[in-house]
Symmetry: C2
Subunit: 372 residues, 2 copies
C-alpha cells in the first residue's frame, strides 16, 4: 500500500467475538452479530470494520481473532484476507487473551509495532474523523501510552462504560489526546446524567491502541501467567507446533477483559491516554439502539431490511426486522420491536429491547439450543 | 339411520363461503376460515359443523354448498360425504342463491322437506341444547314458518345482527318458539346495550329452518327472477344439462343475503319464528373473539396452537396463533394479537382485531394477491 493514509508499522486487531444476545433472533451463537448487516448497509458489521481500518492498517495489516467455529463464515465474508491474518481461538477466553494473542503474534512477526484493537461489531460513521482519531492514538501510543478513543457522549446512556479524562497529554501528533483518570462500568441513570454534565466522561468503545511491547509489558506485570501463556502460543504460532501448543496452553488461560487486565490498573498509574473521537459511533447493542441507526418511515416506524416486506396501518415508532422473506403486517401497534427470522419470531417493546437476553436464557432452559 | 335423534324428512344445508377476512393470515381466499381448526379442537369448523348436524340430518341428509375452488378441500376434510351432497357454485352469489339452490335441489330430489341452513364457520358448544333447538325449529317449520334460532346475547356485541322476538308461537313441538318482530343489523354500542337490557333481542346466527315449499314460495314472491333461476338450475342439477344450465343461468343471479331476500320481509308479515338457543355459540369473527374460545395460560395469554411453540416473559392478555412451526418469543408485551403463518405474520392489538380486514385491503392494493 502506498496510500498516504497508511500508518507505518500499525496493525489493526479485530476481535470478532460476543454473541450479541440482545439482538436475538438475528444474532445467534452460530452467526453472531458481527456477521450481520443489521442496518441494510450492504456490508456486515465485520466487513464494515475491515473496510474502515484498511486505509490505515493496509490490507495486510489487519488481524482478525475469532472463534474457530466462525472462521469459515469470516473468510467467506472477507475473501481477500490472507490466511495468516485470521487467528482462530479454540475456546473463548475473553478480550485480553484474544487481543494479547494477536499482539504477541504480530510482535513475533514484525517486532515492536503499534497495534490497535477495534471490535468487529460496532457502527462508525465519519471515516475522516475516525482516521484522525486513530492517527492521534497511534502517535500517543508511540510515546508509550495505552491509548483509547473516547466517544462523545450524546445522551446519559446506562448501556455503556465510560472513560474519564484529565489533563492534556502533550504528545506530538496527538494534539487532542488527554490523560485518562479512570474507567467506569455502566452507570445508573443519575450517575450517567452527572457524567454527561461534567464533560469529562466519554463512552468507552473498547478501542485500545498501544505498542506491542507496552501492551504486553503491562500484561506481564498485571497478569504474568496469562502473558507467559500468550507468548508461548505466539512463539509457536507460525510453526508446526501451533496446534499442539494451543491445545495445551489455551484452555488454561485466564478469562478476563482487557479493561480489567490492563486498561484500569494502568490508568490508575497514569499510563493510559484518550483521544476524543468526533465520529458517530454505536455498539448496536439491541434493537432499540439499532432503530437510531435506521432511517424513519412515516410515523417514525423503522425497517431494517426490505421496507416493502412490511405492511403498516396506523402504526408508529415500531422497529421491524423482516429477515424471512415473509410479509410482516402491523395494524394499530406502536413502539414494538418485531424481528422475523426463518425459525424464530420476536415481539417485544422498544423499552424492553435490553432484556431480550432473558428470552435467550429462557430458550436455553427449555433446551431449544438450536435457536440460540 | 335408525338413531332416534334423526329427524325424518329433515335436511341440513351447510353454506360454506365467506373469506373470514378478519382472520387473515390464517383465513385465506384459497383456504377460508371454515377449513381451519382455529381452536385446536382437532376438527375444522366445517368438520365440526357436519359432526354437529349428522345426528339429526343423518349422514345422507347433509348438503354442502361451496365455491367450485373449495370443493376439493371440502371433500378431503369430509371423505364420507356423498358425491351428490356437495353443490359447487361457479361464482359466489351470496347466501340466498346458495341456500335457495340447495333447497330447490333437495325439493327436486325428495319433495317438500324441511331444510335448515347452518353456516360452516361457527362454533357451537352444547350438542344436546343445539339439537333441542333444531327439533323445535323443525316443528315450527312444519307449521309453515321460516324459523331462526336466536342466540342468547351474553354481552352488548356490536359485531352481530339481532333478531327481535314477540309473543309465543304456540306450535306443538316448539314450546319455546316465539314470533319474530324483526331483524336488525349490527347496532352501535348504546343500542346494543338497550337490546341486552330489553331481553327481546337475540343474536342472529344466520340459521334458517323452513319447508322447502315455504322458503321457495317466499322467494318466488320476493325475488321472482332469483327463484325462477334457482328452480331452473335445480331441475337440471341431476341431469347431463347441469353444467350448461349453471353456466347460462348462475352468473346472472341476484347477489343477496337470505336475511334481506326472505327473512326480513317475511318477518314483517309475521311469517318468521325464533327458537331461543341455549347452547354456546360464536362466529369466531376475529382473533379477539377467538381468544374467548381458548383456555387461558398464566397471565391470561391465549395460544391457538402448540403452546410450547410460544415463549413468553412478562406478558399478559396476548393472543398467539403459531402456525409456522417457528418459535414465537414474546417479551413484555400485553394484549397483542400475533399470528404466525408460513408466508405472512400479523401483529396487532386485540382492540384492533376487527380491523384486520383493512390490512387485507392494503395487501390487495399492493398487488400481494398471493397472500390473500
Amino acid at each position: 500500500m502506498t496510500d498516504s493514509r497508511v500508518i507505518e508499522d500499525f496493525y489493526a486487531i479485530i476481535p470478532a467475538g460476543g454473541a450479541g444476545t440482545r439482538l436475538w433472533p438475528v444474532s445467534r451463537q452460530g452467526a453472531p452479530k458481527f456477521l450481520h448487516d443489521l442496518t441494510g448497509a450492504g456490508r456486515s458489521l465485520l466487513q464494515s470494520t475491515v473496510d474502515r481500518l484498511t486505509p490505515q492498517a493496509g490490507a495486510d495489516g489487519i488481524v482478525l481473532v475469532t472463534g474457530a467455529k466462525h472462521v469459515a463464515a469470516c473468510r467467506e465474508q472477507l475473501p481477500d484476507l490472507a490466511e495468516e491474518s485470521v487467528l482462530a481461538e479454540p475456546l473463548p477466553r475473553d478480550s485480553m487473551a484474544a487481543i494479547g494473542l494477536a499482539a504477541a503474534v504480530l510482535e513475533q512477526r514484525h517486532g515492536d509495532v503499534v497495534v490497535g484493537s477495534f471490535a468487529a461489531d460496532q457502527m462508525v460513521s465519519g471515516q475522516a474523523a475516525f482516521e484522525q482519531a486513530v492517527r492521534e492514538a497511534v502517535a500517543a501510543a508511540r510515546a508509550g501510552y495505552v491509548v483509547t478513543i473516547g466517544i462523545a457522549a450524546s445522551r446519559p446512556s446506562v448501556a455503556f462504560g465510560y472513560v474519564r479524562s484529565g489533563e492534556p497529554l502533550g504528545v506530538d501528533g496527538a494534539p487532542t489526546a488527554l490523560h485518562v483518570r479512570g474507567f467506569t462500568e455502566k452507570p445508573d441513570a443519575a450517575t450517567a446524567r452527572e457524567y454527561l454534565t461534567s464533560g469529562e466522561y466519554r463512552w468507552n468503545a473498547g478501542i485500545f491502541v498501544a505498542r506491542t511491547s507496552v501492551l504486553l509489558g503491562h500484561l506481564r506485570e498485571q497478569r504474568p501467567a496469562l502473558h507467559d501463556g500468550l507468548r508461548e502460543i505466539a512463539a509457536a504460532w507460525d510453526t508446526p507446533e501451533r496446534e499442539a501448543v494451543l491445545a495445551r496452553v489455551w484452555p488454561g488461560l485466564e478469562k478476563i477483559a482487557i479493561d480489567h487486565a490492563v486498561a484500569e490498573p494502568v490508568a490508575a498509574r497514569g499510563g493510559v491516554a484518550v483521544v476524543p473521537g468526533t465520529f458517530g459511533w454505536d455498539d448496536v447493542g439491541d434493537f432499540n439502539s439499532l432503530a437510531a441507526l435506521l432511517p424513519s418511515l412515516d410515523a417514525g416506524d423503522k425497517v431494517a431490511g426490505v421496507a416493502s416486506d412490511v405492511v403498516r396501518i396506523e402504526t408508529a415508532g415500531n422497529v421491524v426486522v423482516p429477515q424471512s422473506g415473509r410479509v410482516v403486517a402491523l395494524l394499530g401497534v406502536d413502539d414494538l420491536v418485531v424481528v422475523d427470522t426463518p425459525d424464530a419470531l420476536l415481539v417485544t417493546s422498544r423499552s424492553r429491547a435490553q432484556q431480550v437476553k432473558s428470552l435467550v436464557d429462557a430458550l436455553r432452559e427449555r433446551g431449544l439450543d438450536e435457536l440460540l
